[in-house]
Symmetry: D2
Subunit: 356 residues, 4 copies
């Protein structure tokens, strides 16, 4: 008779086809298969735990996810407080603004003749197109908005709050920026200068030398204070990039001033990069432990998949299974209207880390 092994506890259960299964059913059964299918199913469970525990959930997005059709998923996560703080590349916010303003991206082909596209001023993002003229118009719209602001430094967080407000008042349309404005949820964009939002700001500067001053160092202070104030954090990252690092940096910077910070309690990332080339986007969550970015006992999972494939099923399933948990959740209430943000009625210190 076989001896039992501690390694052989739960068998793989082959996935069976049930034609009318919901997304939630699918993921439930995928918990018992292998490889990235299992990891996606695990991601749902870890996100549920984030929601059930008293965590501030940071959400990072890099890659052309807004242009690629995921912006209303992110808006849903914001509006329903599946997440508490968004860190994004500029492009995702810009493409969101583009659609909120009524413009569209278009289904295209990765094999089209790029010279022909260029001749028609059509910009290609793999299999997706957009009109360059509309982009130029957005840039000018952003410049015009920026000229309505005071001539002082704005953190990207404060700037984006004002941008969402302006956009909501002008369009009344749903999207990432407008959902965040309405839900009073902060957005950080540490690499705003590397995006068309930055280009719009530079055009404001061109018209008025005092305009378009973004204080990205101030964003570091605010993001770390957010961790210091509520040290239990979790991280959901799509695609790596600057958002992934900025979220981890907030934790590391906070720890510098407050040694009770112990890294994220939960972490999930959906990435297509791999660890073995050394880049931060593909870096493993194990490696993050060495830095203290992640608690040593944190539950975590990496899903190696394209977010356009993983997110529709993951968020649909989560929305079905986390209803009750979400109803019982008491998320942080943010005060975003001022130059320095606050949480639950208490403002952060100005231009300072909230050291113990």
């Amino acid at each position: 008779m076989k001896t039992k092994s501690r390694f052989l506890r739960a068998p793989v259960e082959p996935f069976t086809v049930e034609p009318d299964a919901s997304a939630s059913d699918l993921l439930e059964r995928m918990e018992r298969i292998s490889f990235q299918g299992r990891n996606l199913a695990t991601a749902r469970r870890i996100w549920e735990k984030m929601l059930a525990s008293d965590c501030t959930i940071f959400f990072g997005m890099a890659g052309a996810l807004s242009a690629g059709g995921l912006r209303m998923i992110v808006a849903y996560l914001i509006a329903n407080r599946y997440i508490d703080c968004l860190v994004s590349t500029g492009a995702n916010l810009y493409h969101d603004l583009h659609e909120t303003r009524g413009r569209r991206h278009y289904l295209g082909s990765p094999h089209e003749d790029d010279a022909a596209l260029q001749a028609e001023h059509i910009d290609r993002v793999y299999d997706t197109y957009a009109r360059e003229d509309e982009f130029c118009d957005n840039d000018e719209w952003i410049a015009a908005f920026a000229l309505t602001l005071e001539r002082r430094p704005y953190t990207s967080r404060e700037f984006l709050y004002r941008l969402g407000e302006y956009l909501w008042k002008e369009t009344g349309q749903d999207g990432i920026l407008t959902a965040a404005y309405r839900a009073n949820l902060p957005i950080f964009c540490p690499a705003i200068a590397d995006s068309s939002i930055g280009m719009g700001l530079s055009q404001a500067r061109h018209r008025d030398s005092g305009a378009g001053l973004i204080d990205v160092i101030g964003d570091i202070v605010e993001s770390a204070n957010l961790v210091i104030r509520h040290p239990r954090t979790a991280s959901v990252v799509l695609g790596g990039g600057t958002p992934k690092n900025f979220i981890n940096q907030a934790s590391v910077q906070a720890e510098f001033f407050d040694d009770r910070i112990g890294g994220h309690r939960y972490a999930l990332q959906i990435v297509t990069d791999v660890p073995h080339f050394g880049g931060a986007s593909g870096s493993s969550l194990e490696e993050a432990r060495s830095w203290g970015k992640l608690a040593t006992d944190a539950e975590q999972v990496t899903v190696h998949a394209d977010a356009t494939l993983a997110m529709p099923i993951l968020v649909t399933a989560l929305a079905a299974s986390a209803r009750e948990t979400l109803a019982g959740r008491k998320p942080l209430r943010f005060d975003l209207a001022g130059a320095t943000m606050g949480v639950n009625g208490r403002p952060f210190p100005q231009a300072r880390f909230e050291a113990r």
Copy 2:
């Protein structure tokens, strides 16, 4: 006013979260997003077209898909004739046999100490474990079965038919091999020598020098005759490897004897390899056109994803939307009991291509 562009016909429609959505609903809405999400949705539509048109659907599988929990999906595709001919690596058939015989694979971790696993005779496939002793027992079971066969060459196709029959009679359990036996659907395994089934056969040889002779060249003849007899073909490939090439080779070899063969009419592949390293597994379906493996006007799509993530949702959605199409389908009827197979009551020529 904007001029219309032929490039800008259909806009991206941002995916909206509906918690109770079925897999079929999800994929329907993913047709209007971008990147691999769109490609997976397109894969469902192309598979529907394969089923609706009078095509012989070849299905190739490489990668540890049986161990990884997908074997009952493949059994479902076979039993319901979503596919007509399976080409597989030996490992996938072997791991299927392992479970049909009542053994299991186990949920494990990619970070386990492999020396500790080795000490307990546990074999690891990324995050999945199996008992080596049970594998050894399978090998002997296969050897014993092989010794029951005649002392003559068997194509892998004939051998696997007999193996499925034997397995069904012994176990009465569902699985890939038993489903194919019961549905009378051919399985080819061109690289059978590179698998534990081959190892079992080599142990039969060890006991009897006349046993275990597999005529893999005969498989080339039969697979090409299958294409010559019914030149309208389609290809569904998971993971590349020898199955991908063998399916294309059947088409190319058939064309050598019959110039009416024009390559697959439809093709879909779910792969994680990429084209730019030159390997066949990652090669594009565009490249396949240059060889005539694919008809110049074939509809095709490549989904860059792990099959364990893509297949549960794809096949669930297909099972929901293709019910009627499937009911109207009149698949080929195979005669698999003899040394040379036949189709719809007409045997193939022995040891010869059915040249015009």
Copy 3:
């Protein structure tokens, strides 16, 4: 007799082993093989053409290349003016500073126990380690430096020039920052807030609310003016990320003000990301044409490889074969000491694009 095909001009020449071959010899023969080996060889030739034609060569670096041992290659490219303008992630400049200050990174293992590393305050980057305490010391050193600056906004370009100067005066050691200072070559870091340099700046802010103000929007203006002033540009990109996009953005932003700008004349990128997930890091140079980031007739090549493998051989070979070309090159002379930079004795306009 065979007809000639326009497609079959140059045969593959199998690579032959010559034990004493130099890097330059190797790459010369690799021009006649296939796949990424050929692409690396082509990269050398395209870089030679950049040097031979009157181009401003932008060089972008993302990924842990300084920690990974490539910083003296970059310093060499700067000192010898193989490149004209560096765009970098903050981490690469920070890890360069770390070593220039006499600290080290260490050879490690990707399989080490991260909890054990964390317990010793050792940070892991895949297979490379560093002491966290030394990182904290760097942060304070940067903060102290930042407090020596005027209380006004600095572009990342001006800030990094001053940082290089300070570092050179304190250490007299070679490195990226010090080489750029000594060669008077501009460095842009659009995502400086997403790095430990940014963390150091935030600590300066903590001590003095007027310190650490980086004007990243000003960087957009300066980088575009650099293109407007000398519209012939070329792009060498390692690893994608913000540097890749920022270099392209400079061209696109410049074109907004001057329609003579036609995109980069030459482009080479060494990346590990792939196009089909839609992210900018992996985006193809074909796609860049649709945006006008690349001239329609630009010579370009993408090398799909890890930079730590590709760069040592590429730069060694280039250094051997481009000696004469380099000697005849007349690179731009930059004026970097002021708040607004200049080229060849002519300053850029302040806070404005140099519109025609």
Copy 4:
């Protein structure tokens, strides 16, 4: 003062550019950098150790390496006995035969119009072309050769030995098959049915029903006997696929009959696949330990790179540094002329494993 850490022994030494450096110099300095550059340098050292220790070195090749220009590197490794046994896909041997017969592959583009290529009967392998007519001619040549053989089963090993002999006598040209014939070095091709060599054999079958019988199960017996006879083995694998698995299988099968077999003592692989999708091609060498394919204390390295980039530099450097070691090496002498091979004058048992 800092305490010493056992983790921080050897610092990264930044790579410095020396324009005239040889490949061997390059790799020597790359041992002290990070990521895949370091791994390639480590690969050279591990291969040197294989040569210095009394190991049978298995060499596996998958991917379009012959078409892609690496066939004379492999011929060099064979002729100079850097390796002892080749396991290959059929395609690599076929493309080698194609060139040894005086035909060529051609430098092409991955962006060419595949319909145009198809119209000219040109087959594309990513960026490399070949004439389909010449391929058809090869197939017939192989068929004609196969018809000269006896009407009995041949292992792929015996068949390929005879094929190499025939090719050498007809052409007198160097290549993989001819070098192996001349050096008396065995080649196994377990998936021969999945290649154009198999297609040629099937055409011999078409002409004579007794021809073209390849005993791939016999290959399993011979390859395991090779390990049983000389249990110290090493493995060098390019690209994964059936060769990678077959080499490991030989070790596992041997251990079944002889428990002194302990897995490969050294292993290096150059692959582009990754472990996390569960496929064998990308599987880690750590995982191989759990199976006993690799000795628990084996020295091993995985280089994540395209072989066309890695192999020219690796083999050039090895050829320079391993001269003396190679001169002192006493490789196995094979007897390949019979139906059953032998080693150092002692034939293997017929159709049996050499059980203790």
